[in-house]
């Protein structure tokens, strides 16, 4: 993350300094303003979803969800102990495309998987890759956008999207499994 951050920031700032030096600081502040605006919106969204998730947990529904998802979680993550409930909620929220509902459960799961190490563990990596390769079955936002622009048959993008997202997810899972297998072999 540091390498990518510093390269983009450095190269971008150098280009900006050459093309329009007066806009450098403005660009930085613009970025930060957008981040704060987003955070306020996220606060509203997370409040709603965390409250709902909290009710789910106090009803014991997450335990039931965990039981249903257990075979998949065991296969992908191995033994994850008490993070299992959060992972189950996170995956379900991802599949149903519940906007940002997957973020709070994802963060909570990552925290429970944290062992204080500086390096990412295989279970964290698996949760990360599942979250970034998109598990969404029905792309609600995109369909909404298409309909608002007068698409004649907006649902015909569901199948291509599903195939594309399945390929990215399968590719991600396979590479992650492979990567940690090789890593394990190299460090006895």
């Amino acid at each position: 993350m540091n390498l990518i951050f510093i390269s983009i920031l450095l190269v971008g700032t150098i280009i900006l300094t050459i093309t329009s030096p007066q806009s450098v600081l403005e660009t930085f502040v613009n970025g930060s303003t957008k981040a704060i605006n987003l955070s306020i919106r996220l606060l509203a969204i997370y409040t709603v979803w965390l409250s709902i998730l909290n009710i789910v947990q106090s009803c014991g529904l997450d335990k039931k969800l965990q039981k249903i998802m257990s075979p998949i979680i065991n296969k992908l993550f191995g033994n994850v102990g008490h993070a299992k409930g959060d992972i189950a909620v996170n995956i379900t929220a991802n599949i149903f495309g519940m906007g940002n509902a997957c973020v709070p459960s994802g963060i909570s799961a990552i925290q429970k998987l944290d062992c204080g190490s500086k390096y990412i563990t295989s279970t964290m990596a698996m949760l990360f890759i599942l979250n970034v390769t998109s598990l969404e079955v029905i792309p609600t936002t995109v369909i909404g956008l298409l309909i608002s622009h007068g698409a004649s048959n907006s649902s015909n993008i569901i199948l291509p999207t599903l195939i594309a997202t399945l390929s990215s997810t399968i590719c991600g899972i396979t590479l992650t499994k492979l990567y940690f297998k090789i890593k394990k072999r190299n460090t006895p």
Binding site: L9, S51, F128, Y179
Partner: protein, 167 residues
């Protein structure tokens, strides 16, 4: 589709009454943890957004798009969606804005629009997830995970562009 989440919420509230859960207290507690969550992730979100802003204000994204064009063409990805593929790992809302532009320019039923939709649906904002999810942990070394994520999303984009030619 629009009924799914509302019905789930109603069902949940009814189940909570049945289970004798104090809904008010649990709801308030959820709000409290949301405040803590946003506060602890805010610095990371700022860092990612400053990076995105510099990335697009300096035209680095168009420069990169032009450089990568031959590579993308090999895999059957049309030039019109390269900008979208480059912005997607950085920001979900940014890519939705680019997608909207594509829909306006090429029309909602065109091949370009359908490929773009499939690309947006098959990937996620990698840099946002990697900084926010790990904000509360000590994890600093991701190894090859970021690159694996980028590669997987790229594979998704290739499949998206080629499958839209057939379907």
């Amino acid at each position: 589709m629009s009924y799914v989440i509302p019905i789930m919420i109603i069902a949940l509230l009814l189940y909570a009454i049945y289970k004798n859960v104090n809904v008010y207290d649990t709801f308030v507690f959820g709000g409290k943890s949301a405040c803590e969550l946003v506060l602890s992730t805010l610095p990371y979100i700022i860092a990612v957004f400053v990076m995105i802003e510099v990335f697009s204000a300096s035209n680095l994204n168009t420069i990169l798009a032009n450089m990568l064009q031959p590579l993308f063409n090999i895999f059957g990805i049309p030039n019109e969606v390269i900008g979208l593929i480059l912005i997607k790992p950085f920001s979900g809302s940014g890519s939705i804005a680019v997608l909207e532009q594509i829909i306006c320019t090429y029309g909602p039923n065109s091949y370009i629009t359908r490929s773009a939709c499939a690309i947006v649906g098959s990937s996620e904002a990698i840099f946002f997830v990697s900084s926010v999810y790990f904000a509360k942990t000590k994890v600093k070394k991701f190894g090859l995970m970021i690159y694996i994520a980028l590669l997987s999303n790229f594979v998704g984009a290739i499949v998206a562009c080629n499958i839209c030619k057939i379907i």
